[in-house]
């Protein structure tokens, strides 16, 4: 097998600190996905996905554009429900219970499974009101000021904004805005944090800070990220899932499929599937 064209020193470093597959699989399965498929207005976007997400890990979804990674991650907090024409088939178990069960309240789910988006989307309000929005609408009891400070500290933003909480959030830099969005999600005390390409709109320094944050946060939370940046997955993720696009014979329909799901180390050093190997070595995508 050819040597992959990524920084092998870095990989080795990650591998040293990386959890073994056995360690990971001993943890609780936060999500269990079986035979998941998503279609929009009848056209399949994603098919036959099955994997488990483990507690207090960072799980990364990588793959070329159009392979359904964002569609997939939105299944975990039922954000696809908001898209008219979107249909989700298959099962997603959240701590063993059916996330798409008939009697499950999607609104409540979203408190426990938070989301950070690709382009930072702070509300056009003050920094304080951004963080406080979630606790307020959910009617969370307790001291709001403490919650806001706690969330900002966890997102490593407190020191930078503590003197200007009443200032508008839109005045922050891109990296700060994204950390604000993370703090906003943390304020409602979630269990899982989903991040859809959280650093792709940011500069390298902000990206590094977000990645460091992920390392910190995974101690308390379970993190799932989508990234188009392989190196980022190699740096932060414990488990990595590689998705790819399958084109129909006549070239018309494109669907996403899960190709391989394993520890990051394995995906990047000794992938089992040729498609994975092609992708991580930069031969395509």
């Amino acid at each position: 097998m050819e040597t992959p064209q990524i920084d092998s020193a870095r990989i080795a470093e990650v591998a040293r600190g990386a959890l073994s597959r056995g360690d990971i699989e001993r943890r609780e399965r936060v999500f269990t996905v079986s035979d998941l498929g998503v279609s929009y207005n009848g056209k399949p976007a994603l098919e036959d996905v099955s994997l488990d997400v483990f507690r207090n890990t960072v799980t990364a979804f990588i793959g070329p554009s159009g392979c359904g990674k964002s569609t997939f991650i939105r299944c975990f907090n039922r954000m696809n429900d908001l898209i008219p024409g979107a249909d989700v088939a298959g099962t997603v178990l959240y701590h063993g219970a059916d996330l798409y069960g008939r009697n499950v309240d999607p609104v409540e789910i979203r408190r426990r499974i938070g989301m950070v988006f690709q382009k930072p989307n702070p509300f056009p309000k003050s920094i304080y009101d951004n963080i406080a929005f979630g606790p307020r609408v959910l009617g969370m009891k307790g001291d709001l000021d403490e919650r806001v400070e706690g969330a900002l500290r966890q997102a490593a933003l407190w020191d930078e904004v503590k003197d200007r909480l009443k200032d508008g959030a839109l005045g922050l830099s891109g990296g700060q805005q994204q950390r604000l969005c993370i703090a906003r999600a943390l304020a409602v005390e979630p269990d899982v944090i989903l991040m859809d390409e959280p650093a792709s709109a940011l500069d390298p320094i902000s990206t590094t800070r977000i990645e460091d944050l992920m390392h910190e946060l995974k101690r308390e939370y379970t993190i799932v990220i989508v990234t188009h940046n392989m190196q980022q997955a190699a740096r932060v993720a414990d488990m990595t899932a590689f998705f790819s696009v399958v084109v129909a014979e006549d070239g018309s329909a494109r669907r996403g499929v899960l190709v391989e799901y394993d520890t990051t180390t394995k995906i990047f050093t000794t992938p089992s599937d040729k498609r994975t190997e092609d992708y991580v070595t930069g031969r395509f995508g």
């Binding site: 609780e28 399965r29 701590h95 069960g101 008939r102 009697n103 499950v104 999607p106 409540e108 789910i109």
Partner: protein
């Protein structure tokens, strides 16, 4: 490998949020008011109009060329009113359309951002002038002015009203056309300039054709507004229902008739009273048809990249 089995988590149950349902209902009711309004308009026009057509034959109404409802020897031919309306609208559109498109091309292609930032609000001011003031202006300034420059117009005449109405509609045509032109992608213009075309050629041969659906919509909207306009024609065009195409003459439009009669003391239930609704129905149908035509036209000429 030992997998620790956890008991399934009890997920929060979906509950009916009564507040949300109530909100949805209230909002629907608000939106339904618009449907009720249309229903009201249709009913308020139809019922007395049907009554009217029991006394006056539709044939006489729609084809008769004499309109004299208040005379002892009454005639109920609506044609003079309709002709009057369209004559006014024709002349107004003749004024509003070229000038409006001219203003639009200038603002869109030629003017600097600072100039257009000053001119656009001024256009808005022109559009905001109440029509009664415009009617007053047409009667007391424009008519004497036209006479002074040698045109022997009647005191109440088509020309004064059309000129003022047309100018009132310039902002409508200009803003819609300008929006349409602004929506034309930069690339198309750049392509033209790159080939060596000058501003005139790019504006007239590239931008205007690309924006044509919006410009057509602007025209139809302006024409439709002219048809529905009341005060300017009531004050300045007169109340003499006759068929004439000479813009110096006096005429009466459908709207002027309705306005004048409705304002007067016409006994409820009399035939004169019912004429209001018959003419109103005619007017309503004409504007409805024009609206539908406009939508159809816009759809037909809409380019792919819009």
């Amino acid at each position: 490998m030992v997998v620790i089995e956890q008991p399934a988590l009890a997920l929060p149950r979906k509950r009916i949020r009564w507040g949300e349902q109530l909100v949805h209902l209230l909002l629907f009711i608000a939106a339904a008011i618009s449907v009720l309004t249309t229903l009201g308009i249709v009913l308020s026009l139809l019922m007395p109009a049907i009554d009217f057509f029991r006394e006056v034959s539709p044939w006489e109404f729609f084809t008769g060329t004499t309109w004299a409802p208040l005379f002892l020897d009454a005639h109920f031919g609506v044609v003079p009113l309709v002709v009057g309306t369209f004559v006014i609208s024709f002349w107004s559109a003749l004024v509003a359309f070229p000038l409006g498109v001219g203003v639009a091309i200038y603002l869109s292609e030629y003017a600097r951002p600072r100039t257009s930032a000053v001119l656009k609000p001024v256009l808005e001011i022109l559009a905001a002038i109440p029509t009664v003031v415009l009617g007053y202006f047409a009667l007391t300034f424009v008519t004497p002015f036209l006479r002074d420059i040698g045109l022997s117009v009647e005191i109440f005449n088509v020309l004064s009203a059309s000129l003022v109405l047309g100018i009132m509609l310039i902002p409508t045509v200009a803003t819609l056309s300008e929006d349409a032109m602004a929506a034309v992608p930069r690339d198309l213009r750049d392509g033209g300039y790159a080939l060596g075309a000058d501003k005139l050629q790019v504006s007239t041969r590239i931008v205007v054709p690309a924006a044509i659906s919006g410009i057509i919509a602007a025209f139809v909207l302006a024409f439709s507004r002219a048809v529905g306009e009341t005060m300017i024609v009531l004050i300045a065009a007169g109340q003499l229902a006759q068929i004439t195409f000479d813009p110096r003459e006096t005429i009466e439009t459908m709207t002027a008739f309705i306005g004048a009669t409705g304002n007067g003391d016409v006994p409820t239930g009399s035939i004169e009273y019912k004429t209001i609704f018959a003419v109103g129905l005619t007017l309503f149908l004409i504007t409805l048809v024009m609206n539908l035509v406009s939508i159809r036209l816009v759809r037909k000429y809409r380019e792919i990249y819009e």
